[in-house]
Every structure is written in C-alpha cells, then in structure tokens.
Symmetry: C2
Subunit: 164 residues, 2 copies
DNA sequence: GAATTTACGTCAGCCTTGTTGACTTTCCAA
DNA sequence: TTGGAAAGTCAACAAGGCTGACGTAAATTC
C-alpha cells in the first residue's frame, strides 16, 4: 500500500489527495462519535448532552455564556439540554458570587461518573488509533486538525489546551 | 530511527494528550463543514444533501442501497433528500438495465455545478490546512483518521479510495 | 437614583434530519 | 409460482438546531 504523500508532493496536492482527506474526516468522525453515542442512547441523552458534559468537566465553574461561545449554539438550544442535566442531577448550577447574574456550572458526582464512562470510551478509541498510527502520525494529526479550524475555534481550542 | 511500532513514547499517552486529540476533532470538524454549510444554506439544502451529492459524484451510477450503506442512514431519510435533489434537477435516477429494481444515481450538469462549488470550498480549506501543517503531518493525519474508523467504515473508505 | 445593558431563563413555533412501522410495487431467482 | 430482495411511499415521532419575544435580576452607566 503506497502511501504516497511525501516531501515534494505538497506542490502536487491533487484534488484526489484532498478528496481522500475529506472522506477520511467524514468516516473518522463517525467512528469518533460512535462509542459515546451508544452509551448515551441507553440513557436517553444525545450528543448535545455529551458536549455540555465534556466542556463543563473541562472547565468546572464555567458560565452559561462561556459554554455558549464554545459550543456555538443558541442559549435556547443549550438551555434545553442543560435543564435536563440539572433535573437529572448530573449538573449543578450555582449563582455567581462576584457577579450574581452568572450561573457557574459543575458536574455532580453522578455527572462525573457519566463523564468518565463517556470519555473512557472515546479515549480508548483515540488511544488505539494513536498506537496503530505511530508517534509521528500523532503530531501530524493534531497539526492538520488545528490548521483546519476557524480562527475563532482555534482560539477556543488553545485556551482550553493550556488549561482553564 | 524512530522505528518502534509500539515505542515507549506511546506508553506515555496521557489522558490529557488524548483529550486534546478529542477536542481537536471536535473543533476541526466544525471548520471542516463550515464552508459547505454556508453555501448550502442560501439554497435551502443541508449537510444531508451535500453528503448525497458528494458520494453520487464520487461513484456515478451508484445504487440507492449502496448509498445507504455508505451514508449509514435509513432509506426513508435518504429518500427524502434524494427526492428533493431529483425534483430540483440536480440528480438523475435511472432504472437499472441488468436489475430493474435498482435505481442508478447520477449528477446532472446542474448537480455537477453545485458539487464543484461545494468541493472547491472544502478542498480549499483542506489544502490550506495541509500546507500549514507540512508534508509529514499530512500522512500522519490520514493514518490516525483511518485507524479511528470502525472496520466497516474503513472498508467503505478503502473501497472508495481505490476508485470505483 | 434612574436608565440601560448584561446574563440568564423560558415560551412558542419552525426546520432539518434522523428514527420506526406499515404497506405497495416490481421483479429476480429458487 | 412463490418467496424475498430492492425500492418507494405515507405517517408519525424525536433530537436538536434555529428565530423571536418576553421577563427578571443584577450590574453598569449616566
């Protein structure tokens, strides 16, 4: 299997090569979401819940509007998801102390358990893919993905990456 | 020099590194779909239409059931999209000659024009990302994505990759 | 102190795109 | 000739996007 793209071939980026990359993104994203989707399905949640859980876990105490800008959805859309998560006792919403208009979001113990289950599954696939592809592939993977983001998304991504 | 298939650096895959990969996928996929989404919006189509157009263009004369297995949706869902594309004169459906139960799908000239517009936009972003990331990154990118697919999706992907 | 802005929540309604279930038509193949 | 596969259609429903409008509390500005 001749995996051609080497050195000088960058100048010869054919439509065919680019199309392969496009289709790879399409099929890989399906795999990327498949495991969490299966877990979420049995408890009547969807990807929207997963995303909220992920980023609340990532930045405990984050505000609603911060979450909105990360997820890129409307507050009505996020609120619907958030409400069920709070009702079900997975997320806790706390009125801000310095600014009482803000709501700070945290995962409860129950929320942390689900987050664990979801991210374990997703990490397992990512780990397997990294192992199969090898060390060099990993950094290339991340470089291309970063370059593919819109500037605004890259900003969000880097802010998270550094540790918030 | 870095031969190790399961080199020790791989053993140091921290949860943090894996999480970064997961978030990179999330944000990059948004960028990946952003340009086509903008084009589709003005003509009242969605991603489902784009996917159908892409794979019909990729495999002219493909059957409905073949498309179903590639897209991984129900026939009812695909049919709704396909019907509008046929009505709007972007896709042509031909009764099979060898097996008349099958419908073979082709893009019309009008369909080809839209496909061009969509894939030009998507390729432009992919090309820019490849250029920014560099040659080695490109092969790593594809390797990790392929490893991330479900076996069935990988089969579909490779079948397409080889051509047909 | 009043007016405005901000952050959040909520109601109502719409759209796309996914789902299941039931039914029909066509037509190949055993 | 009959069973079953391929395809299409109708109906109903759900998730999760969206817009618009409205309300409330708190912060900020004038």
């Amino acid at each position: 299997m001749p995996e051609t793209p080497s050195g000088e071939s960058l100048l010869f980026l054919t439509d065919e090569q680019l199309r392969k990359g496009i289709e790879a993104m399409f099929f890989a994203y399906r795999g990327f979401t498949a495991d969490p989707d299966r877990i979420l399905e049995v408890m009547d949640y969807g990807r929207a819940h997963h995303r909220a859980i992920h980023f609340i876990h990532r930045s405990p105490g984050t505000t609603v509007s911060n979450l909105l800008s990360i997820l890129g959805v409307t507050k009505q859309s996020l609120n619907r998801v958030l409400r069920t998560l709070i009702e079900d006792g997975l997320v806790r919403s706390e009125k801000g102390k310095v600014d009482a208009r803000e709501r700070h979001l945290y995962l409860t113990d129950k929320g942390l358990i689900l987050e664990r289950e979801l991210s374990d599954a997703q990490r397992a696939r990512m780990r397997a893919a990294y192992r199969a592809a090898g060390p060099q592939a990993v950094s290339g993977f991340r470089q291309v993905l970063e370059a593919m983001m819109d500037p605004e998304m890259r900003r969000q991504y880097n802010r998270l990456k550094e540790g918030g």
